[in-house]
């Protein structure tokens, strides 16, 4: 089965996000004074072939831990969906 995968990588809570805070600081100048908690992450999309959803998820988790994220500073949220042949 083919699954489409979306991995959302975010810095872990407590890890400084200078990009996010720089964006946040610039917003009042642009006329958006009420925005807070800006965090910048990465969105990674791909497709994976696996026997079933459980197998696909476990492979993606492994991939995230070993390569797509650095677990010391980042967390990954995984969304996974079976691709239905058209």
């Amino acid at each position: 089965m083919l699954f489409s995968v979306h991995v959302d990588v975010q810095l872990r809570p407590g890890i400084a996000d200078p990009q996010g805070s720089t964006i946040e600081r610039s917003l009042p100048t642009l006329g958006f004074p009420g925005v807070s908690g800006v965090r910048v992450g990465k969105s990674i999309k791909f497709e994976i072939e696996a026997a079933d959803e459980t197998a696909a998820r476990s492979e993606v988790e492994d991939l995230c831990n070993r390569f797509l994220t650095n677990p010391v500073i980042e967390d990954a949220a995984i969304e996974l969906e079976a691709v239905v042949a058209a």
Partner: protein, 224 residues
């Protein structure tokens, strides 16, 4: 016997010839190790130099750590061989799990290129054995992601086991506990953000990198 130092070259490394020059200036021999070869050619010590290996894509060091040469470096480090990661090389060694922690973007989101003062906090490792405790060395830093971070448990372990080998006198990048360089448990793997290879000649502003390179060359005699 002249110590032979292997300097790993990834696509995007840019300090490899500076390291080779520095090693030769201090009396060693040095050669390039190609990232695609699964061997370190029998060298006595390995330096992973600075630069932007694989364009720093995904994260600095994330792709470089899977290079064939890194398996050989891992094995060498496991056998007690001296391995030093400078700047991007430090990032590669943390990604490879040879050193704890990670390097995040500098506090202030600025690329920093300046002279830094480093205090020797431990002389018990392959990069500082020829220095004296408390020595202050002037060595340049040149990085965007040099803000060292780790879990509170890891920090306690580093502090408790004398594994923080260099600290910034004035913290330029937000590194936790002013950390500029750390070593592994075996004290044969060291990572640091500053560039000792750029502090080898008075003409370039400092010769304080010399004792660091000399330490590495001397460590060969004791570990091989």
């Amino acid at each position: 016997m002249t110590a032979r130092v292997g300097v790993v070259l990834f696509p995007g490394s840019n300090c490899e010839f500076d390291v080779i020059e520095a090693v030769k200036t201090v009396g060693g021999d040095a050669e390039i190790l190609w990232h695609g070869d699964a061997t370190i050619n029998g060298v006595d010590a390995v330096v992973v130099p600075g630069g932007f290996a694989h364009g720093d894509y995904l994260r600095p060091g994330a792709i470089a750590r899977f290079s064939p040469v890194m398996e050989a470096v891992q094995r060498f480090a496991g056998e007690g061989g001296p391995v030093v990661g400078i700047c991007n090389g430090f990032q590669v060694l943390t990604e490879a799990g040879l050193l704890p922690g990670a390097l995040q973007k500098n506090r202030g989101l600025k690329f920093i290129c300046q002279m830094a003062e480093l205090r020797v906090e431990s002389t018990e490792c392959v990069l500082t054995s020829a220095t004296a405790l408390g020595d202050v060395l002037r060595v340049p830093v040149n990085h965007f992601e040099g803000n060292y971070t780790c879990s509170p448990e890891t920090l306690a372990e580093l502090q408790g086991n004398d594994r923080i080998v260099l600290r910034y006198v004035t913290n330029p990048n937000g590194s936790i506990d002013d950390i500029a360089g750390v070593c592994n448990e075996g004290r044969n793997v060291v990572g640091l953000m500053p560039h000792p290879e750029r502090a080898i000649s008075a003409l370039l502003g400092s010769v304080d990198g010399v004792p660091l390179v000399r330490s590495l060359l001397q460590s060969v005699a004791t570990t091989v």
